[in-house]
């Protein structure tokens, strides 16, 4: 079974702090994704990566950056957390060109910025 793990289930941070969310997958997937999920808005793509050190902006990249130094790990960074970044963050991964690019999701990190 594909396993996608996220470093924390719940996180509380203060405004202005630098926040790191980590995601690790164990199935050698090329593609990795970061989404945020808010009620009524569904999943919105922040960034994705299709290879080590490669990244593409999604629909809402402002206020976020990412890092992918190793194939299995994809980090989301909030440079200076703000209250409007309070949300559920979901990481996902997929194989390139196989299975229709089906994505496998982690359990999510619920981030609260106070």
């Amino acid at each position: 079974d594909v396993k996608v793990t996220q470093s924390s289930r719940y996180l509380v941070k203060r405004t202005g702090e630098k926040v790191f969310l980590e995601c690790v997958q164990d199935m050698d997937h090329e593609n990795m994704f970061w989404y945020r999920q808010d009620p009524g808005l569904g999943l919105r793509l922040i960034y994705f990566s299709y290879d080590v050190k490669m990244k593409e902006k999604g629909d809402i990249p402002e206020g976020y950056s990412v890092s992918r130094e190793k194939k299995e790990r994809f980090s989301l960074i909030l440079e200076s957390a703000s209250t409007n970044q309070t949300s559920m963050y979901l990481c996902a991964s997929s194989l390139f060109g196989t299975g229709g690019y089906e994505q496998y999701f982690g359990p999510g990190t619920r981030l609260t910025v106070t």
Binding site: V4, G42, L43, Y50, G58, G99, G100, E102, Q103, G108
Partner: protein, 114 residues
């Protein structure tokens, strides 16, 4: 870019009744289509997917979906729901050259009442 419309944000239904969750997508030459389910405080898990072949796709937990190319729809159905089917359901599409990116609908909350 692709877009996905889930026509109902909330669907309440009584236990053992049939249910249909509707999904329409913007047209593309060829698409892959997915339905995911999310239980409270969890990540998304795949219910079923359409890649090619038969337009009727069967998934886990007794769900099925029908791909209709002329209507650009991929509606999810279950003939008899259980309390345990209460969850949020997301439709997603991959089309064209988008580096493995999926486009998600905003979700439909299915609530099953006893």
């Amino acid at each position: 870019a692709q877009s996905v419309t889930q026509l109902d944000s909330q669907v309440p239904v009584f236990e053992e009744a049939p249910v249909e969750l509707r999904c329409n997508y913007s047209s593309s030459v060829s698409v892959y289509l997915f339905w995911y389910v999310q239980y409270p405080n969890q990540g998304l898990q795949l219910l079923l997917k359409y890649l090619s072949g038969s337009t009727l796709v069967k998934g886990i937990n007794g769900f099925e979906a029908e791909f209709n190319k002329s209507q650009t729809s991929f509606h999810l159905r279950k003939p008899s729901v259980h309390i345990s089917d209460t969850a949020e359901y997301f439709c997603a599409v991959k089309g064209g050259s988008t580096l493995g990116r999926l486009y998600f609908g905003r979700g439909t909350q299915l609530t099953v009442w006893p």
